[in-house]
Amino acid sequence: MSFSANKATFGTLIKRTLVKRIRFRGRSLVIGIPLWWLIVFFLIPFVVVAKISFSEAIIARPPYSSLLEWKEGGFLLLKLHFSNYLYLLEDSLYISAYWSSIKVAFFSTLIALLVAYPMAYYIARSTERRRNILLMLIILPFWTSFLLRVYAWIGILKTHGIINNILMSLGITSEPLVMMQTNFAVYVGIVYTYLPFMILPLYTNLVKLDNSLLEASADLGANPLTTFFKITLPLSVPGIIAGSMLVFIPVVGEFVIPALLGGPDTLMIGKVLWDEFFSNRDWPVASAVAIVMLVLLVIPVMLLRNAQNASRAAST
């Protein structure tokens, strides 16, 4: 009797641990699939890039030398070539490309912020019905082809394009303005394509703004401008940071816009990397360019994460 009871408890014990095991297995499977996918296809690639940035360009397939070499007597020789990085420092092309990419990214982020803020504010203050329609109008262009929207600006900005046709038929200018293949065109293209990325985080932040704070400020005699600078703007800082990072970081490495709208003096590091890889076929230098860009972008990425954590903490 007692034996069978024991057996039963023993049985349930086994069953329980088994179920736990399976549950545990299921749990680690659910965790493991996305985790390992990203480790293999997102993290390890950076290790490979870092590795190749220390190798030498050779004429072979693949076109880079191996870092490890077996020497006689079983010695493993590790050969690191810093020459690619030194090359980036020596040739002024790269430093000025990094610098001008950061400059372009900074100013286009600033312009996008100035354009986006009133829009986000207006949408956040609208009635719910209108708000949904406006939000959809913001998102809609984002769903259509990015490449084709950049292409649209060629037709608008080029020498015999829409703007020049209008200006000349109105008699405002007699000579067509040169806008295509200039930095102006690059700025227009960047602000245009990245505007939704700025508006949406700003909107998410501004819609949570407590109306009673604005009313209190008005009741205490502050004019709308003071209320804006003392209350609305400081409270929207997390939204400003999130939006700015979502624009700044990808713009630093932007390729399509400078390639289509920019001219020969538009120097951006994304285009330099592309040419290094596809035209010069120098994989090690292209890798070094990528690694330096990555290091430059780590700081803003950290800022973005902190801003998101802060806004998440504030909203809960």
Partner: protein
Amino acid sequence: MKKSSWFVATATVLGFAFLYIPILSLIIFSFNKSRLVTVWAGFSTQWYGKLFADPQILGAAWISLKIAFISASLAVVLGTLAALVLVRFRRFHGKNLLGAMIIAPLVMPDVIIGLSLLLLFVAMEAMFGWPAGRGLTTIIIAHTTFCMAYVAVVVQSRLVDMDESLEEAALDLGAKPARVFFDVTLPLISPALVSGWLLSFTLSLDDLVIASFTSGPGASTLPMVIFSKVRLGVSPDINALATIIIVMVAIGVLLAATWMKPKRV
């Protein structure tokens, strides 16, 4: 609700004009008779006919649609798993790593993602013999990787907003975690899955840079063909293609919006 000032309203109208004038100009000039894209010479639909007679564009469009469909589906599965793990699971080894890796592709410049994946594929081929060469498979892997990040973000915000007590109730009533997921969680987050899939589909359809790096001979996607044509200058059949894409997207977004509205409580 206080009304916005005239300054804010004007700025908003101008902002929307800025967003929509290029799109309208694309559509209008796709019906232009003239080869010169920006000089109006009368109504014509000849460029649409020319577009549908171009085997290069049609072939590339078919390749792009295939890649987008498979990548979006894979990305929804992987992205949902990642979001679920990040929002619902207790701390585990690698949670911070997963959280960082899921957000990084959103802002990582395309050239870096493209280059690093290509170098990985080359190194893997040298070590294991797989993937043999580059083409559809490598583009699909690349697109799945960056699209799953977008899916994860969309699903994550839905999971955070969702009432957790429903899942707890099901667990208390004795349902197994997998059953709770399929019977309670999944139906509740399905709108997020749909928008995640649609987002991934369009992102994949749109990508030029990552596809250019990870593609091989014979696997030119639509953006790659468009880019090589556009680099030589504007051509009206690209306007026709743009118009078709814009109209399809607009219909799709409107349908999705009306379909998802009644479900939102």
